[in-house]
Every structure is written in structure tokens, then in C-alpha cells.
Symmetry: C2
Subunit: 177 residues, 2 copies
């Protein structure tokens, strides 16, 4: 694994950012390495490239599989396993987004659903606030899922519109803020 200076800097950066992105240093580094490397590489090569233990690589790969970010492959006449990024950058970003939604929003949404269900009548301040949060998360979740269901190219076109989308809404208060 010959790694040039910039590539190395990028991998290290992803390691440091890892925890902010929802996983640990090692997972961030492995993911970056697999994205940057043209062909599938073995767990051993990963361990060597990142100077981490074989066991750590195994756990990291398992974690990345739970995020659906890596692909497994084999070479003919070689029983080692080789790993590669699962898809294009855009698809990977969508996958990460989807998984994060599942991990960061879903648990709270289901807690709120059951709490609100159990106290439908109540109109206390805190109940109202819980209702507001629930509605926000529900709408966000539904919307994010819809966006994630689009093809990357469609999504890109939509995003390029920026706040221009508000035209659809036929609103005059487009950009008051």
C-alpha cells in the first residue's frame, strides 16, 4: 500500500473526525482508506497501512459492514477476503445519512410516540413541547427518507436549486431572514 502524503493526511483527518461522524478513529481511517484505494485490499494490508492491530481491523470492518459501506470480494485461487468501498461517493453519503437517521432520530421518535400515545389528553406545557419535538422529528424523518430514495443525480439537481426551490411553494416570503 504505497500512500502519498496527501492521501495519508486525508486518512488521518478522517480518523480524527470519525467520532464526530458517528464512529471511532479506526473506522474513520479504514473507511477513508477503502474509498481512496482503487482495488480491494485485504484486512492484513489495512492493518499494515494504518499501523493498527489485526483484531482492530476486524472489528472496524464489522462496524463498517453494519453501516453498509463496504463490499467483500475474493480473488481466484486465493482464499483471503478483500474489501472495497460499497458504492459511489454519493451513494455512500446517502447510506451514511440513512444510517445516522436510524441511529440518531428513530429511537427518540419511538420514545415520543409511545409517550404521547399514553397521554393523549394532557395539555401540560411539557406535553406540548414533547408533541412539537415529535412533529419535527417525524416530518424530518419522512422528508429525509424521501430524499434518500432519490437517485444521486436527481438529488444533485435538486440541491443545486438551493433556496430556489421555494418557487414551488408559491410563497412571497421567500427569503425574509
Amino acid at each position: 500500500m504505497p500512500i502519498n502524503t496527501d492521501t495519508h493526511a486525508f486518512i488521518m483527518h478522517c480518523g480524527e473526525m470519525g467520532s464526530r461522524w458517528g464512529f471511532n478513529r479506526t473506522v474513520g481511517q479504514i473507511c477513508a482508506l477503502l474509498v481512496i484505494t482503487p482495488e480491494p485490499i485485504s484486512a492484513e494490508q489495512i492493518a499494515e497501512a494504518l499501523s493498527i492491530s489485526r483484531g482492530n481491523v476486524s472489528m472496524g470492518l464489522k462496524e463498517l459492514q453494519s453501516w453498509r459501506l463496504i463490499q467483500l470480494s475474493h480473488k481466484p485461487g486465493d482464499r483471503k477476503e478483500y474489501f472495497d468501498a460499497a458504492s459511489s461517493i454519493w451513494e455512500m453519503a446517502q447510506t451514511i445519512f440513512e444510517e445516522r437517521l436510524k441511529r440518531e432520530v428513530d429511537p427518540t421518535l419511538s420514545l415520543l410516540r409511545s409517550q404521547l400515545l399514553a397521554h393523549e389528553g394532557d395539555a401540560t406545557y411539557s406535553q406540548q413541547r414533547l408533541q412539537e419535538i415529535h412533529d419535527l422529528l417525524e416530518l424530518t424523518s419522512t422528508w429525509a427518507t424521501a430524499l434518500n430514495g432519490m437517485q444521486p443525480t436527481t438529488l444533485q439537481q435538486l440541491m443545486k436549486l438551493g433556496s430556489g426551490v421555494t418557487k414551488v411553494l408559491g410563497l412571497k416570503d421567500k427569503l425574509k431572514r
Copy 2:
């Protein structure tokens, strides 16, 4: 601070989710408590309600201020400081989104910008990949900033459209996936 069972459960839940949302347990709990409580409360009341030390509350409040999520107020004839959620649920969500973008995306974007600038000519595989990631992050960042600049009601209307927005694009491949 009289806290009912559900409210308490919600606060504890926010503490546990805290680390997934980009801050620690205490910060998650304090934030939830302030959102759920009708009037501003003092640091001492927070410490008591959550059974945590006064020092920890102080650090938590500082952190929440860096997120622009809390408001400070005073009562006449009382020199204690009182704290409250900074704004509506929607505005708070937008603020969190904005801050997370700043913490999770901006550092990587600026690294990539400088790396790509330094190697404009190169057409290696890894350079191409870095370029793709850069473009994705740049578009995402710009788009997210545009959305965040909208008023909550406008944003809500937009979100309610779901994947219906693709109509604007005049595309026939709306929902292939």
C-alpha cells in the same frame, strides 16, 4: 423542579442520545430540561433536578452557549442567572443543524480545498476521489445553508412536499429507485 415520570424519562433519553448528537450526556440532559421547563431556571436548580455537580452544570451551560441553544435572563431583585431554551423547537433544530455542519463538514471541506489546490494537475485515482468528496461536501454545505436560511414555516411547507419537489426539476425519472 417537580418533574413527572415521562418528562424525566425523556430527559434521561436525551442524555443517553447526547453523544450521538454531538455532545455529552450532561449537555443532552440540560438541553432537554430547559426545553421542557416553562420558565427560566437557575444553575443550582438544574444541578438539583439532574443530580449532578454545580461545576458540571457550569461546563454544560457553557457548551450549550457555544451551540447558541440557550438564553440567559435575570429576575428583578435577584442577582442569580436564569437559563432557558433560546428559541422555538424549529429554530433550535435549525441551529443544531447549522452548528453540526460547521463542526462535521467544514473542517474536511477546508482540508480538501487546500489539498486539491496544491495538486490541480494530478489525475490519480485518489485525487479524483478527493475531488468527488469535495464536490459532494461543497454542494451539501451550500444547500444546507440555504435551507437553514429559510423561515421555519417555509421550511416545513417544503418538507411536506417530500419527493414531490422533483416536479420542479421537470424530470421523468422521479422515482426510479
